[in-house]
């Protein structure tokens, strides 16, 4: 069964990605490849991606059927979607175990959802 782990990051997370201090920058970047590697070695990795800063997002809406293009992400929340992993595990409990191992930083939030299976 496929699950997606959605990773919501804080302002501090996004700032750390390009922090001029190499130590701070390193601290952000170092953990992700190790986690992805662990997923692959366990044979549960399906896919995943990190996303660029929320400021790079563009939102498309259709109020009254008319297309409206807006600068910025859709959700106006403190934490923003920063990336995701898709994993193949037998059940929710196994998915939660993997979500618990996603690199953590204060304020970071993970949401686990089963992937939709199209009607056969």
């Amino acid at each position: 069964m496929n699950y997606t782990i959605l990773i919501y990051e804080t302002q501090a997370d996004f700032a750390a990605r390009n922090n001029p201090d190499p130590k701070e920058r390193e601290a952000y970047w170092a953990a992700w490849p190790r986690y992805a590697q662990a997923l692959k070695e366990a044979g549960v990795f399906v896919g995943g991606a990190g996303l660029q800063l929320p400021g790079t997002a563009t939102t498309l809406k259709f109020p009254d059927g008319k297309r409206q293009v807006q600068d910025g992400p859709y959700a106006d929340t403190k934490e923003q979607l920063g990336g995701f992993f898709i994993i193949d595990v037998p059940n929710l409990d196994a998915a939660l175990d993997w979500a618990a191992r996603v690199p953590y930083a204060p304020g970071r939030v993970f949401e686990v959802r089963p992937n939709l299976v199209p009607p056969s």
């Binding site: 069964m1 699950y3 059940n91 409990d93």
Partner: protein, 410 residues
């Protein structure tokens, strides 16, 4: 007539085991319930003619399994469960043909109902429905919810179990204490507040006390050596032992300290004490053992004629450290007030953030009682008024109104 009785007997004895067995294989509680309901219906139709089968449970299981596989074939999703269900065909056949007893999966079902991914407010209703087979309407009234709303919430929750793929597995050893805690809490929530101290009782959900005790005893059979399980059952037995003494012959409310101990059930107290004795020997103290120990000290009054409030206060200190719930904090303040005076007790009560106690009836009942003892009558009158306003029980409301009478002079 005999066939109908046989169906009812099977429903009473094996409902939870059959549901648990089917749900553990289909991962779908709602589908298991539907399939089993169909199987019982089929039994009612065919047993009077064909006679009661040798193994009624295996017969029911075979029919329910057939319904489940048919349903899975027609379902849009969840083809994943189909191979497991087909394997179940053989299993059901084996069970019918041999003396094999089908495995007891009720513990897994209890862990699923109280899974951390399930809304805490729905864990108890879910257990009551799937494990005890209680109708949604009955559960709804105990939780002060409309029956339709309760049914919808239960359907949604079972949908989450199926769609999110919650595992029908026992937690690993390292996770067991935490996971067991949520099961114990869900059972205790059905029992209601165990805090029935000096001045204020909050006997909510009292209608489900027996059901909660049933769930507790079931869990005790399935996990016979867990001290916290023994503690929970001991706690509920102690509270249950005083059921008859909580009301006078005229139906008025009698606070714990004024109860006639002759009306307490010796048998239940005895059983509770035995369980608690076994529990503490494991040397793994926990919230429910502490709560049971508090009730055990109260129970000693039946033999000694007095209540050791200093011991109760000490146990509440421990409890507040383990589980700093509002009930524990208010209970501690009550015990300290009895042991060391109203002023000391009030100081503890006062320290609880007022935002937390806005709607907590036992807080206001105790505050009123303490103000009255400190002879601060206007404050007492105001607190009684809030306690009465938050009361859900008519007998307690009358008791508090009577207590308040002396505070509203001039």
């Amino acid at each position: 007539m005999e066939a109908r009785r046989a169906v009812e007997q099977a429903a009473r004895d094996s409902y939870a085991r059959l549901i648990a067995f089917l749900a553990a294989r289909s991962r779908d509680v709602a589908a298991a319930e539907d399939a089993l309901a169909d199987a019982f219906q089929a039994a009612l139709e065919t047993w009077p003619g064909s006679g009661v089968p040798d193994k009624p449970e295996a017969w029911l299981l075979t029919v329910a399994r057939r319904r489940l596989t048919d349903a899975a074939r027609h379902a849009r999703v969840h083809t994943e469960a189909l191979p497991t269900l087909l394997a179940l065909t053989d299993e059901a056949h084996d069970l019918a043909a041999t003396d094999m007893v089908f495995p007891d999966e009720r513990l897994k079902l209890l862990f699923v109902c109280a899974h951390p991914a399930i809304d805490p407010a729905l864990r108890t209703p879910l257990m009551l429905q799937t494990v005890l087979g209680l109708p949604a309407a009955h559960i709804a009234s105990a939780f002060l919810v409309k029956p339709v709303a309760m049914s919808q919430r239960l359907v949604r929750t079972k949908g989450k179990i199926r769609d999110a793929g919650i595992a029908f597995e026992l937690p690993e050893a390292k996770e067991l204490p935490e996971r067991l805690d949520t099961v114990l809490e869900a059972i205790y929530a059905a029992y209601g507040s165990g805090w029935d101290d000096v001045a204020g009782a909050d006997p909510r959900r009292k209608g489900l006390a027996r059901e909660a005790l049933d769930l507790g005893r079931l869990l005790l059979r399935l996990l016979p050596t867990e001290p916290e399980v023994q503690g929970l059952v001991a706690l509920m037995l102690h509270c249950e032992a005083r059921r008859e003494a909580r009301r006078s012959a005229r139906g008025t409310y009698v606070p714990l300290s004024e109860q006639d101990t002759a009306h307490w059930s010796r048998a239940m107290i005895e059983e509770a004490e035995q369980l608690l004795n076994i529990a503490v020997q494991a040397n793994r103290i926990g919230r429910f053992q502490l709560e049971a120990a508090i009730q055990s000290v109260h129970a000693h009054r039946a033999r000694t004629g007095y209540t050791d409030w200093e011991a109760i206060a000490l146990l509440y200190e421990g409890l507040v450290r383990f589980a700093p719930s509002l009930g524990a904090q208010v209970g501690r303040a009550a015990a300290i007030a009895e042991a060391r005076g109203a002023t000391t007790g009030w100081r503890l009560l006062e320290a609880i953030p007022s935002e937390d106690v806005k709607n907590y009836q036992p807080y206001w009942a105790l505050a009123a009682h303490l103000f009255k003892r400190m002879e601060q009558f206007p404050e007492a009158a105001a607190a009684y008024s809030r306690a009465i306003g938050l009361c859900e029980d008519q007998a307690v409301r009358e008791f508090l109104t009577q207590q308040a009478a002396g505070t509203q002079s001039s």
